[in-house]
Amino acid sequence: MNLKKQFMEGLLTQNPVLVQVLGMCSTMAITTSFFNGLGMGVAVLVILTLSNVIISLIRKIVPDKIRIAMFIVVIAGFVTMVDLFLQAFVPALAESLGVFIPLIVVNCIILGRAESFSYKNGVAASFFDGIFQGIGYTLVLLVMCIIREFLGAGTFGGGLLGVDGKGIQILPSQFPAGMLTLPVGGFLVLGCLIAAMQWALSKSKK
């Protein structure tokens, strides 16, 4: 087990969003305010870590033929639990993330890590893989939220800071391009981020 390597992979060289290009749907859809990004990131981190640990624990007894079905059952179970807990204890977040919480079941980051990592590695390594990949995902979400919120609405920390949780207005309200908070803005920002990541990675390899 190589913690430092796993950490670097999750954050940079194998970043789930920017390098593996997994979990695009949620990345586009919810990165419109800081609070959403943080909530979604942490929800995925928790579910990913739990399901990684369980899948790693049962990997020896799962028949190969039905492993995908077993993964999905485990993941769906955790997602439903998180969904219920959010609705019960953080209703504001549950409401603003809406249908994207149940959709974590089909978030390919979680199934992807189950198949490519925790099915083949020990419990501790899988646990840290969940944490680091989750952090990598959360960081990208936060960067996208900050960019889209700043350019699209001129605010910072929407849903969390400022009056009525509307965020702190930085740009005067006539400047921002509302387009950036729409799906098209998600594609633009994500495209630029992936390009920047590839450039940085190819540069560091030389």
Binding site: V62, P63, A69, A76, T80, A88, F89, P91, E95, L182
Partner: protein, 210 residues
Amino acid sequence: MSNEVQTKEKVNLDPKYIIKLTVTLFLTCVVVAGLLGLVNKVTEPNITAANKAKTEAAMQQVVADPEGSTFSDALEITEDMNAAAASAGAKVTEAYEVQSGGAPAGYALKIVASGSQGNIEMMVGVDAEGVVTGVSVVKNSETAGIGSKVMANEPTAAGVGVLSQFVGKSAADGTLAVGTNVDAISGATVSSKGVTTGVNAALAVAAVMG
């Protein structure tokens, strides 16, 4: 995924193997379902309470006398109410009787109408005389920065909040329509029309309820 590539591999029809697969998957499902049952037991009271508080808060925003009003349990939605809402182009999903100081003071109706990006769920208060006492949006998916202005009750060109302008309207004003007796937020006409449709439906339903 490498196993799927070798499709030539014979399917193992050994009954023991098939039973093993079935039992494993079945047991996993049973365990997961059991755990979910437990979680549900813990969270359900909170979820119910949170939903109820949300509905009550929304109702309080739309009645004339928020302090002194009490609300009945959800009333049954009759065929007539459904028909009245449908004729105005929206759906009524919940209805509550409002009591103010012990006297009946009209109804709070939850209406679903279509906006520009999906359904707009709103609470509309109508008093005993069939006059709108308030409109508040409970749930929507309107475009942030455009339709969301309507949902947040921002002022129209006339200077009145786009949702507040409905207060005082009644069936006597005729069918409400954007451009004639309702002002839209510029750029958010579809969202404004959605809300207007909802208010028309609420007035129609309240008229049926008497």
